[in-house]
């Protein structure tokens, strides 16, 4: 009797693991859970750099760092508008650089479409990066995930997916980069745009890196 009860218990425990995990495996193998997009080719474009020397006063910058790429009916334009530098003498409150990261892309290919866009802002751990969400605009793109770059994290990022496989997408998102150091300290941010598109036959990924340097006085 004890053995039967024990076997019953073991069976119930095994069932509670095997049934869900088998379902999971079956869903993937039968295609109900689709495999992630397979990128056939990744094109990494040349890094575009921008440098700025920290100053002891606030100033408007209004500088645009820009990249353009055109490939057989597919075009993408990534831009970073650097708006201003707000100087704050107390390091803990942070001097700030306000900027807008933008992307415009479209394809004229008959069966082509934009699949997804990913933007990551890699920073050091003496600065923070915050998205100004109310001032962000998205055209034919929906947010999959968006993360703030806290002091302890390595990056802030934004993952977008195109709405109904759009052939034209754009977004504009405001970012505040807070430098939590005195003006004699330097900082660097590496901004990475990744765009995946379908050209009618295969998925391609375009990677555009930007490097923003703020030099200490």
């Amino acid at each position: 009797m004890e053995l039967t009860e024990r076997k019953k218990q073991i069976s119930l425990v095994l069932l509670s693991i095997i049934v869900p995990m088998s379902l999971l495996g079956t869903f993937r193998l039968t295609g109900i859970l689709k495999e992630p997009t397979k990128v056939a080719e990744t094109i990494t474009l040349e890094t575009i750099e921008w440098e700025f020397e920290r100053i002891n006063q606030s100033a408007d910058i209004f500088y645009v760092v820009e990249a353009l790429h055109d490939d057989n009916g597919f075009a993408v334009n990534q831009r970073i508008h650097i708006w201003d530098y707000v100087n704050r003498p107390l390091a803990w409150s942070g001097s700030t650089i306000t900027m807008v990261v933008e992307l415009n892309s479209n394809t004229t290919s008959q069966n082509g479409y934009i699949e997804s866009v990913y933007v990551a802002l890699y920073k050091d751990q003496l600065s923070t990066v915050d998205w100004v969400r109310p001032l962000s605009r998205f055209g034919n793109l929906s947010i999959v995930e968006q993360a703030v770059g806290y002091e302890w994290s390595t990056k802030a990022d934004l993952r977008l997916t195109s709405v109904k496989h759009s052939r034209s997408v754009k977004f504009s998102a405001m970012v505040v980069w807070s430098l939590l150091t005195p003006n004699n300290q330097s900082h660097q941010m590496d901004v990475l745009y990744e765009l995946i598109y379908y050209n009618g036959t295969a998925y391609k990924k375009i990677t555009q890196p930007f490097q923003l340097k703020v030099m200490g006085r």
Binding site: Q9, L12, S16, I17, P20, R28, E145
Partner: protein
């Protein structure tokens, strides 16, 4: 040693129904998470900070095993699942389900080969968390209402809590076994994948 392990298992067997229910909830949440991930709901992924906190040295397999094991045992099991149960017995269930959803979403982003290779880690590590959840729920129940935790015994809150703590220690022996096995399997899978 064998006798001690049997004693540990018998403590879990006394809480058999809860163990099976938590198993269903946890592994069911993984399936639900994978389906949610398929529909583009990645928000859950960002709601848990644990995965971002763990920075593992990935070139040294031994260090990786220790790092994964310690992090899973102290942070993911003890702090998130067991200790929260001591505060309120529903919390371990919530954290287990949230972790299951998170795993499902993340797991769904893997290519099919890795998706299937990760199953042993999911099961071993998942069992560790479910057992930690059983300990957590009973710790909470013991002070909330000793009769819910120990029906046949007429224990005071303090006595019930002491007994639940003792039981939790026995259960944690099994948690350690499962999480250690999971860490070894995970490191064995991760290190060649990364070097590749």
């Amino acid at each position: 040693m064998r006798g001690f392990l049997i004693a540990c298992v018998s403590v879990v067997r006394k809480r058999f129904s809860l163990f099976v229910v938590l198993n269903w909830l946890f592994f069911g949440s993984i399936v639900t998470g994978a389906l949610l991930g398929q529909m583009g709901h990645y928000e859950v992924y960002r709601s848990v900070f644990v995965e971002d906190v763990l920075i593992t040295e990935r070139s040294n397999v031994m260090l990786m095993v220790v790092s994964i094991f310690v992090s899973n045992l102290l942070l993911s099991s003890f702090l998130l699942v067991t200790l929260t149960g001591l505060a309120f017995p529903i919390l371990p269930i919530g954290f287990l389900m949230l972790r299951g959803l998170l795993w499902g979403v993340l797991h769904n982003t893997l290519p099919t080969s890795l998706f299937l290779i990760a199953f042993p880690t999911l099961i071993l590590e998942g069992e560790g968390y479910v057992l930690a959840g059983v300990a957590g729920v009973y710790l909470g129940l013991s002070w909330l209402n000793p009769r819910w935790a120990y029906k046949e015994e007429n224990l005071s809150r303090a006595d019930a809590l002491k007994k639940a703590l003792k039981d939790a220690m026995y259960i944690y022996v099994l948690v350690v076994v499962f999480l250690l096995a999971a860490a070894i399997v995970e490191a064995a899978i991760i290190s060649p994948t990364i070097s590749h």
